[in-house]
């Protein structure tokens, strides 16, 4: 934790820079979404990579996760495991696919 005056004064500059970087990457996200990549899935992937990078900056710098006590990392490790399970859940649905003809199908 940044606790002494000198360190905090240094980190103030850092916070402003990170804010600026986040703004720039937001603009990049918008621009990237207009680029026609081979598949839209790739657009989503690239967009999510940029978003994860931005989220990482917020968590590491603004939320001070780059220098925290071990107990917080232990709590978050559990959270990460359960959150990942949530996101692989939909893979199980592929084992039991629902096949139906929607009224809204892309024309040939």
């Amino acid at each position: 934790m940044a606790d002494n005056v000198e360190e905090i004064q240094k980190s103030i500059k850092k916070y402003l820079w990170i804010g600026l970087i986040l703004m720039v990457f937001t603009a990049i996200t918008v621009w990237l979404s207009t680029v026609e990549l081979p598949t839209h899935g790739l657009n989503i992937l690239v967009g999510m990579i940029v978003a994860t990078f931005k989220a990482g900056l917020v968590a590491l710098i603004f939320m001070h996760l780059n220098h925290e006590r071990p107990i917080i990392y232990k709590v978050l490790a559990f959270t990460a495991v359960f959150a990942i399970v949530l996101f692989v859940l939909f893979y199980f649905s592929k084992q039991d696919p629902l096949v139906f003809e929607g009224f809204y199908s892309i024309p040939e």
Binding site: T39, G47, M48, A55, V58, R69, I71, L76, I106, P107
Partner: protein
């Protein structure tokens, strides 16, 4: 009793207690939003319609992203200022943070209200028309109503035993009738139908049903003079050419006057139509004049795509499908030939669906036959799964913004004494509130691209 370890770290954890508390809370918040993001994936993978992309007002979403990032900077600056005992700066940064929350929610309300006023109408061939309902001279929306005339009789059924539906004409029928609801009962008595007069009729009918050992009682009323009725389709149970069934089961006999829907069309989405240029939207009664514009716009976008990506499969490009088959209308009459796409290419294709509703914009008005409409809704959760998850996620996120702003605002307004006497304690409070605020920002970092852009 004093709460321990609010300022100094607890020896075993190395942290003050509130910090452990907020991180445990944030861990549970990760699971809450994680579950909803997981639901988003399920809904998107399983959607049987083109998932909306660039359907919301991107400019507004971008402004809100900047506002939240800015407030994330100011809240961490507020904490740092407090650590350095610069109280004036702390107050300023905190005030800006709370102000940012206000701006964010104000923009959100603009976005929501635009969606509530915007309608999508699905036609029988799969075409979707988007647009607005007409407005009266005072810019008040005229709701879509089914109109009945010559109502001569009401038939009410009252189940003897408890039932989910029981006749309650005072609440479900009378509000939709025009003029004084004067009726004659079966024994020739003239009444004004209201809660009191119906209670009397109901008691008589139930007594009669009990005497006859029947399961339900019925009441027949004849209008003294023919009545008119008007109701939104959602407020009634159903109707035919000659009857209208209200939500309490009461059936009125009359004549259907009008169930056509007037729509100021701002978009024609033909992505679900086998032959888009023959869409029902281009029927002579509707928007036949726009068909050349549609074809020109479609061919232009397909040619552009073929020029830039000659080897790619056109049917697999969601962007091309939207640009070529979802025509946005910006004027009441079609542009002259050759100007169909004009300089609006790109911008037009990505324009938010709501447009400017009414003011400054003119749209062609169509009067849709009921037989041609299979479904209509404003842009609310019932429209499709995208809007369902959009409102769930942004609504929950908005609640978090409000909660965070309340907490940070409380520190600013009510903790002045703590700031002067025990600034380290307040700094810890601000750090904890700030951690929550950063989390709210972090969620938005994912929400913005997922709901607005991709």
């Amino acid at each position: 009793m004093e709460i321990p370890y609010t300022v100094h770290a607890r020896p075993d954890t190395g942290l003050y207690n509130a910090k452990i508390g907020i991180w445990l809370f944030l861990a549970s918040e990760v699971m809450l939003f994680g579950g909803l993001f997981s639901a988003y994936i399920f809904l998107r993978v399983g959607a049987d319609y083109p998932w909306p992309v660039w359907d919301l007002d991107v400019k507004l979403g971008l402004i809100n992203t900047a506002v939240l990032i800015g407030s994330s900077v100011t809240v961490v600056m507020a904490w740092a200022s407090l650590k350095l005992r610069r109280f004036g700066q702390y107050k300023l940064y905190m005030a800006i943070t709370v102000l940012c929350a206000g701006v964010f929610m104000f923009n959100k309300s603009l976005e929501y209200s635009a969606k509530f006023k915007h309608y999508a109408v699905k036609l029988t061939d799969g075409t979707i028309l988007t647009g607005h309902l007409p407005e009266d001279d005072h810019h008040k929306t005229i709701p879509y109503q089914v109109k009945f005339g010559d109502i001569t009789a009401l038939s009410l059924t009252i189940p003897v035993k408890n039932s989910a539906v029981t006749a309650d004409p005072a609440s479900y029928v009378v509000p939709h009738l025009e003029g004084e609801p004067k009726f004659k009962t079966a024994d020739g008595k003239e009444i004004v139908l209201n809660a009191a007069s119906f209670a009397e009729l109901r008691a008589q009918a139930l007594a009669k049903a009990a005497a006859d050992k029947k399961d339900s009682a019925s009441v027949q009323l004849t209008a003294v003079s023919p009545l008119k009725a008007a109701a939104k389709p959602a407020d009634i149970f159903g109707y035919t050419e000659t009857t209208i069934t209200f939500r309490d089961g009461t059936v009125a006999t009359g004549k259907l006057i009008d169930d056509k829907m007037t729509l100021l069309v701002d978009g024609i989405d033909t992505r679900a139509v086998a032959q888009p240029e023959k869409s029902l939207a281009f029927d002579q009664r509707y928007l036949a004049a726009w068909q050349p514009t549609f074809v020109a716009n479609r061919d232009h976008h397909i040619a552009e795509f073929e020029k830039h990506f000659p080897t790619r499969d056109k049917s697999k490009s969601a962007t091309l499908q939207k640009e070529s088959l979802f025509l946005k209308l910006h004027s009441s009459t079609p542009p002259a030939a050759g100007e169909a796409h004009g300089n609006k290419h790109g911008a037009e294709a990505h324009a938010p669906a709501e447009g400017g509703h009414g003011h400054g914009h003119d749209y062609p008005t169509v009067v849709l036959e009921k037989n041609d409409v299979t479904f209509f809704s404003n842009f609310t959760p019932k429209l499709n799964t995208y809007y369902a998850i959009y409102f769930t996620l942004t609504g929950l996120h908005g609640l978090h913004v409000i909660a965070g702003a309340l907490v940070l605002g409380y520190f600013l307004v009510f903790n002045g004494r703590m700031m002067r006497e025990d600034p380290e304690h307040l700094a810890n409070r601000v750090e904890v509130g700030g951690l929550f605020w950063h989390f709210v920002d972090l969620v938005w970092i994912f929400l913005f691209p997922l709901l607005y852009l991709l």
